[in-house]
Symmetry: C2
Subunit: 455 residues, 2 copies
């Protein structure tokens, strides 16, 4: 199962070599949106090019909904959801998906947990019945829970523990959010993961897994009316949860102090500079602000034409890598990141000074009309090309529906990007790329005698 | 009402000019310890020098027990506890205390909330009856809650908002604890305080205020048997709370990245360097470790003979102030702080380098026998002199009983300090004064054109 901490709109799509505005004018399919009597929401994205369907269920619960001290629980439950019900013992669902030639996976973020299957379209009903069954029927015993805890601990080891950059990111997140639960890693703090129990998992499951806390997204070879009938049949009988807890995201105090941190790791062969700024997400931003941040991230740090790449790698030759990204898709405050790795012989301090100079220039002078057009064209083209991928489309809608956006927000996204002005981009840079809102992380090689032991 | 974030054993006592070992050998009074059938604990510290008694009730609940998003609630409730019951309307209790010539106050920390009255000893029963009445009888209406919220907001303004060093401390705490609730300020994040409601306060009160979550400490002119009878009579009828929530302190992940932060404030006339290290408290430490940290803090930064003062202020003349302190009295992990202010013309970077050199020297070479003896003598003498102050004694016991220590731990504290060795002090420095465990804060004057607006 894969655990994802970020899902940006731009990250969803394949990179295309030569986008064109003509393509960008294209429109997507007619997306249908229904809500069942028990509160389950259904999004259908028809796509009849092949007799295949992608079925996803998105629960509006993620790592940020965990109780303090129980980090990693949302992701642990994601794993445990494959452990069977009274009707379908462990492994049965996965065996059936495999037998009909399907694929399956699952993912957890701060705000949502999702499960999906891609199967021949005549098998849609089959996977829905399995999914509806495990919405409330999960059965867990210690003999399946405890070995699975070792699995997530090993996953933590691979993804974070043995990955110096991921460790850096974990520390930056923890220092960036002073109050909001997004400061905890989605996979969990290892010492808390080690203590997660069957009761923790079942308690979390019973609190949050319910039709009125879920969105089914179906993309593929099915018509909306038929999909709706199938969903009614499979999921309609699952009772509504009458005591669903509210989604609490403790708000950040105004950020007033620029922070930095240094992580020394014996395996960090290449030093890294990474800075994250606390910025609005799509859901928390005023109209247009989030789009301006998307455009700004693109201009600053996406690809070899970007300000950071051109300035640091090509012109000044102080870096071997430079980039920027922004995650719009979170229920509460999000982050805007810039970073890079210095060329050998260049210090992180030098790289930071040159990076700062580029940021300061964008704040002071804004972006050019040409940069703006290039960024918008590319972002819109990427979105249009995303229509071509069933799973990407479904993920885009699922992410939107679980992070405070709507079907219309997804549909209108290209138009909103198109409307971004150079002034808005400069305003976004001025307002949000303020060091007091940021944590700057330095990843360096640990060369101390104890380094071996520490890592 | 006063809100206290730290209460160290050494902070409890008056500073005495010439401590002597002879005094330090003195023993305190016989302290009695009872538990009522309803779970209320009672500590009696007889002191018959004057016909006065100090009555305190300590609840085992503080800011760290607040629900995420509701910071400041423990302290807010402390204020609201003066708003009356069905039996005793608002102000009655305070009026009676004033009329009988008494004093009263209250305090909140991360781990406890306390209320006290100092009254003529024949009035002990009177104040106990008021205190027992408001343990479960508090009545709150919006017309008293909302104005009191303005009071705590103004208190936040005075204590933190208008105090650059307190703002620095708030930011350091928030960056020091990545997972533990101690990262939140006791007084609350202002934006959350603004939203606290009557229901929040009553809900918190009902969850945590109960005889089996409280300790009554009586110091003064009363004998233990009489005190017990009075307590039985006043508090014995309050029913036990059968669903008392556990005291959860989410544990910190291993600290791996040295952090720093810069706070610019237009009112910061003198720059400040402050570093806090995450260290064990008395309750979380292995035997002797916490005492070694007390001795270390004293040697490093208490008074004009301390390493930091001598090194930075006297010898190198780079600082106008230098100090160190350690807070042993927390239920979970605590902090060890060092800091100072540079002499005009000296940068914080220079001061930090010189400070680091002194810390490194203690780690490398330990402390001298003379420093060790002087520190131990002083700490023990301070503790003995604390016996002289009724309120200090009561506070010492109350703090101990609500932060995981026992009556015997308080009694044995001087002996344990006496047993600390130079090796233990050096070990403590080596193990805990590790930059990866720390946040270094820089307070500088904000000289930007927007500074006025920001402050």
């Amino acid at each position: 199962m894969l655990s994802r901490t970020n899902l940006t709109l731009t990250a969803l799509v394949t990179v295309i070599a030569t986008p064109s505005l003509a393509v960008a004018q294209q429109r997507g399919p007619e997306v249908a949106d229904f809500t069942l009597a028990n509160g389950l929401e259904l999004i259908v994205i028809p796509d009849h090019r092949a007799p295949v369907v992608t079925h996803m269920i998105w629960y509006k619960v993620g790592a940020a909904d965990e109780t303090p001290g129980k980090s990693g629980l949302a992701h642990f439950l994601e794993h445990l959801m494959f452990k069977g019900t009274a009707k379908n013992p462990t492994g049965k669902f996965s065996q059936v998906v495999a037998r009909i030639g399907g694929q399956e996976n699952a993912f957890t973020s701060q705000d949502y947990t999702g499960y999906y299957q891609r199967v021949p379209s005549d098998q849609l009903k089959t996977v829905m019945e399995f999914e509806a069954d495990r919405m409330t029927g999960l059965q867990l015993t210690d003999d399946v829970v405890l070995p699975e805890r070792n699995v997530i601990l090993e996953e933590q080891n691979q993804r974070i523990g043995n990955n110096p950059r991921a460790r850096l990111g974990e520390q930056i997140d923890a220092a960036l959010y002073l109050n909001n639960p997004y400061g905890k890693p989605v996979i969990g703090w290892r010492h808390e993961m080690e203590e997660l129990s069957r009761d923790d998992a079942i308690g979390f499951y019973r609190r949050f897994y319910a039709p009125n806390n879920a969105v089914v997204v179906i993309a593929g070879d099915v018509d909306p009316a038929k999909a709706r009938a199938l969903v009614e049949e499979a999921y309609g009988k699952v009772p509504r949860h009458n005591n669903l807890p509210p989604r609490i995201r403790a708000q950040e105090p105004p950020p007033v102090a620029a922070r930095s941190l240094t992580l020394a790791d014996a395996r960090a062969e290449i030093p890294t500079l990474q800075r994250e700024y606390l910025v609005p997400s799509f859901a928390t931003s005023k109209r247009g602000e989030s789009m301006a941040l998307e455009v700004l991230a693109h201009i600053l740090g996406s690809g070899s034409n970007s300000r950071l790449y051109r300035g640091l790698v090509v012109d000044k030759q102080v870096a071997v890598a430079a980039n920027a990204w922004y995650d719009a898709s979170t229920l509460d405050l999000s982050k805007f990141a810039i970073g890079g790795s210095p060329r050998p012989g260049v210090t992180l301090t030098q790289l930071e000074a040159e990076t700062d100079a580029i940021v300061v220039e964008v704040i002071a002078k804004g972006v050019t009309a040409e940069e703006l057009e290039r960024a918008k064209t590319r972002l819109i083209a990427d979105a249009v090309y995303a229509l071509d991928n069933q799973a990407s489309m479904a993920r885009w809608y699922g992410t939107a529906m679980t992070t405070g956006a709507s079907v219309n927000d997804v549909k209108n996204w290209p138009d909103r990007i198109r409307a971004v002005t150079a002034e808005q981009v400069q305003d976004a840079a001025r307002q949000w790329l303020d060091k007091r809102r940021s944590v700057t992380g330095y990843l360096v090689k640990d060369v101390s005698p104890q380094a071996e032991k520490r890592s």
